[in-house]
């Protein structure tokens, strides 16, 4: 099976760098799956789960936002904050939702409202 290089980096560290056969990405305009030889695309992300299928199994990460760069040979996800699904506890989830809500009540634009809603919806999945 064709493989491509997948990288997940946050500002603080590189979370993953593996060979993947497909990556499901929560894009701002809808989820999509990147596979090897996907047309080059750059998209922003909404909060949600990122699923990576590798030869040895499936890994899931939660990302809070950022963007993804997909080219034929590689997929790079630059996430503002990212956690392995195993690290996602209900406290962390509640904290992220509370942060988004707080940002919304402080700023109060459409973008923050959408972020708060997306955050809640993304975590619920």
């Amino acid at each position: 099976m064709a493989m491509m290089q997948f990288e997940l980096v946050s500002p603080e560290r590189k979370l993953a760098s593996v060979e993947a056969s497909e990556v499901q990405i929560p894009g701002a305009e809808g989820d999509f799956t990147a596979m090897p030889d996907h047309a080059p695309v750059i998209t922003t992300l909404r909060p949600g789960y990122l699923t990576v299928v590798t030869a040895s199994g499936t890994e899931e990460y939660f990302v809070t936002g950022g963007f993804a760069e997909v080219s034929g040979e590689s997929t790079t996800v630059l996430a503002e904050r990212a956690f392995a699904k195993a690290d996602m506890t209900s406290e962390l989830a509640a904290e992220l939702v509370a942060e988004a809500d707080a940002a919304h009540s402080a700023g109060g634009t459409d973008a923050t409202a959408k972020l708060a809603a997306d955050m809640a919806a993304g975590i619920a999945l």
Partner: protein, 289 residues
Amino acid sequence: MPNLSDLKNRIASVKSTRKITKAMQMVAAAKLRRAQEAAEAGRPYAERFNAVMGGLAASVGSSEGAPKLLAGTGSTQTHLLVVMTAERGLCGGFNGNIAKAAKAAAQKLLAEGKTVKILTVGKKGREAIKRDLADHFIGHVDLSEVKRIGYADASGIAQDVLSRFDAGEFDVAKIFFSRFESVISQIPTEQQIIPADFEASGEDGTVYDYEPSEEEILADLLPRGVATQIFSALLENGASEQGARMSAMDNATRNAGEMIDKLTIQYNRSRQAVITNELIEIISGAEAL
């Protein structure tokens, strides 16, 4: 000639100073390793980010509706200087060099008739430039409680800078920090963050689809770009600070060692002189009998 007990005291005090500087050097070495790892871990993100932004900026930058963060406000009258230094001293010329670079830049701008505003990050730099430029201070970010610099800290500073930009408080923003070259060399660096100054990297010519549109992505990413640049500057600064402290403390330890050697020789000589004197007195006393 100082008497023996004075010399002994001085030797003891220099010895304890040496112990302290030695300990500080070792602590700095351990912290340096961690800071360097953090700086390296942050590099892939910054590099990818800048590459993507470079590509985007090149395609959108020249168009008319380009965001202000990229194209500028059309004026360069008011400059914001973000001066990033350490919270602690005893690290050689580290804080001084950054402050000096910032001061020179501020004075140059003032001489050109521009308005200068200064935001300081880190206590030491604030103290160093307070004397000349205190009137230009508009804010201070205190990181003394922060043990390990996280993206959240950088993002907080970026929020502050961006909200001032949106309020029209300045036209151009620059950050001052120290780039980590090696333990013995840290280079004070000036970097422009607003309007964003991305090198239009010679990308491999891949034509990307953008989702949503290029403009929207750019509007979303530019504020993050500011945070990313501040974050990598903070990380570089952290490594530089520890590197500078390590070499400063290494020097101090060596100097203390040399001083101890010198004082010990002096101490031994004076002690010998006292003994010789006593002998002479005893002998001449015995002969007189």
